[in-house]
Symmetry: C2
């Protein structure tokens, strides 16, 4: 059965090299006092910071800054951003960075409009409603999370070792500036992690036995082929515009909601990975890369094999004239080769310094005391088994 | 070179069988006085009219009606709609129908906000600016033109034998209701014409030697495969929900602008077809089906063959291990088979009662006194030659 759905993604995207002259005009639609948020100093080294400041100045905008937003952004940054918004009467937020900066900025936008503590939005015992949020615009500098075109954000709390993602329509960016050349400086390692993250966003939706629109399956297959084709090009030639452009636009469409088409959503690897990176602070895309092929192997059986065949034939070009189980196993092998050989990512958890100390705790948290209702429902012992498969 | 572009499609879409209960709430966001527009009586026979009236009544809305909007809608309908809007102080328009009804309603929305005559928007000597437009919502009943998710409309003027399309961002529908079951009653012939129209929307963008995002090419290929796969299913089984759903969502994405990706736009078959249907009033999709394979044959040479190969291999499944020209010719043949045998559309102009009387005039109009800057630039004599190729 094909499900009903609502499509509603009113983000305006300026895509390309020569679009930043629209920034001032777009910001001014929402006010005159801007909080600019960013991470480390890379936007200063690349010259992007100076170009943005020039636009803000020419537009006559007043701005304040919150630098230092970390990868796997922490609730402390959200609190600090909200404090700055209140102190300076901020009208509009401008996030410059990748998913971490944009995620944090979305929740700053919400936290700025309430007297509650920012963690109240995430604490499962509270889950404070988002009643209002400041408008967010962004300039993307890393193709991976799709935060530039969705309404979610993931925030970590090192005190409680929790990491939660949450979505709210009020957090959707108003305008995103996607200039592929802003990702030329992304390292080979981060490019590979970004590719793995994007692939995972699609695989979490694609590997689903709920019926789908064929039209959306073909789109997902095209996105996966795009990422598999261009990630290695961008790793080898960091300033290849064609590769960066394809990856950037694919990253947005991998997770903006279009591909869901009303299917019962059932993500598996993301919740398992969130527990990993909540404790170990490893790069999200790397954690996903290590987990995904093991999860595929764990979930393969007669009831699920048809999806692996579709993936293997349509995305990886495997000869369809073979037994389904053979095609499925080849698909997992070939996908592992893509991630670990072509993208060059680490293959096991020990390679990245993670042992089995916390597997039981992580598994219990991942299933939230019950069942992870994914492609195949996973209990705590299943998740722990998948973590163990990542040891070698 | 990959071009810059702006992506901005803030149409909200309610997709599926059970969405009409959102209608009243969505209309009320824009006002209380509604003009409902529709074509022939099919929405009364299908029961859709009654369901809409029930929603309007329950929402406490006051409504007026403009029935009788014709296929290839005429400027007289636009004038009449604008008059009704002014007379009754209409706040919001609700189009129920296919592309013709929605197109006409968009221009009613613009004409209602000016004292000019409606044809002033199209008369090439005037091209009156669109300064304001009433909000338009729609309930789609035919998958073909994509008008439910774009900001354009084509209007005919029988007095001058002109037919012009024009786009303006102010005409973008606010909300579109896409219920595939509303297309169950579409005849086999109209279903085939719709499939041909959608394919043409994609082909006009896909057949372009300007560099493209690979990611968008794969999406276009997926859309074309979807339409080729499901149009015959919907012809054979008019109430096959899966087929109607895939065709409906594909029709919107074939022309909402996403696939353009900033490429230099260069449509060929649509301008040639508009001249045909301006004089003969044949169904737009049928005209496109007859013209497109001939246009493909006419434009095939060493400089363009690579695009035909990509189309033949990725969309039609032709064996790639052959000489490019052979693949290209097979692609045209196989595509003709799809349109004329599988979809069952008429193959030649004489079959639909059109002779060569007006070819010269039509060709001159199609190139607007110069060159049609398409996939391959076409002069008047080229267009005339393509029309002649449609004789047998």
């Amino acid at each position: 059965m094909i499900h009903d759905f609502i499509y509603d993604i009113p983000v305006k995207v300026y895509f390309g090299r020569d679009q930043l002259h629209h920034l001032g005009g777009e910001l001014k639609k929402y006010g005159t006092r801007v909080l600019m948020t960013y991470g480390g100093g890379s936007i200063k080294r690349s010259g992007l910071y100076d170009r943005v400041v020039k636009e803000l100045r020419e537009a006559g905008l007043e701005w304040f800054e919150l630098p230092g937003i970390e990868p796997n952004p922490r609730v402390a940054s959200v609190r600090e951003g909200a404090r700055l918004c209140k102190e300076h009467g901020i009208d509009v937020l401008l996030a410059i960075g990748g998913g971490s900066t944009i995620d944090a900025t979305k929740w700053i936008a919400a936290a700025a409009c309430t007297d509650r503590d920012a963690w109240d939005f995430f604490d499962p015992a509270i889950l404070a409603p988002v009643e209002k949020a400041l408008p967010v615009l962004d300039i993307l500098t890393l193709s991976a999370t799709g935060s530039e075109m969705d309404c979610g954000g993931v925030i970590s709390n090192p005190d409680t070792k929790d990491k939660y993602g949450r979505m709210d329509p009020l957090l959707l960016p108003k305008v995103s500036f996607l200039d592929p050349s802003n990702t030329f400086s992304v390292s080979a390692y981060q490019t590979a992690c970004g590719g793995a993250d994007m692939l995972s966003h699609i695989i979490e939706v694609y590997f689903n036995m709920d019926q789908d629109l064929y039209m959306l399956d073909t789109f997902m297959e095209g996105l996966m082929k795009t990422i598999i084709k261009y990630t290695p090009v961008a790793i080898r030639e960091p300033d290849n515009y064609e590769a960066r452009a394809n990856l950037m636009w694919a990253s947005s469409w991998a997770i903006n909601g279009f591909i869901d088409g009303g299917k019962r959503q059932a993500w598996s690897c993301h919740p398992m990975e969130h527990e990993l990176s909540a404790i170990y602070d490893i790069t999200h895309g790397l954690g996903l890369a290590i987990l995904t092929p093991r999860w595929m192997t764990y979930c393969l059986d007669e009831t699920t094999v048809s999806k692996y065949v579709q993936f293997g034939v349509n995305v990886l070009g495997i000869d369809p004239d073979q037994a389904p189980m053979d095609i499925a196993r080849q698909a997992i092998d070939r996908f592992s080769t893509v991630l670990f050989d072509t993208f060059g990512l680490s293959r096991t958890l020990p390679e990245v310094g993670i042992d089995d100390t916390h597997f039981a705790v992580m598994a219990r948290k991942a299933v939230a005391g019950g069942v992870l209702p994914g492609f195949k429902p996973l209990r705590q012992e299943d998740v722990e088994a998948i973590y163990r498969m990542c040891m070698a």
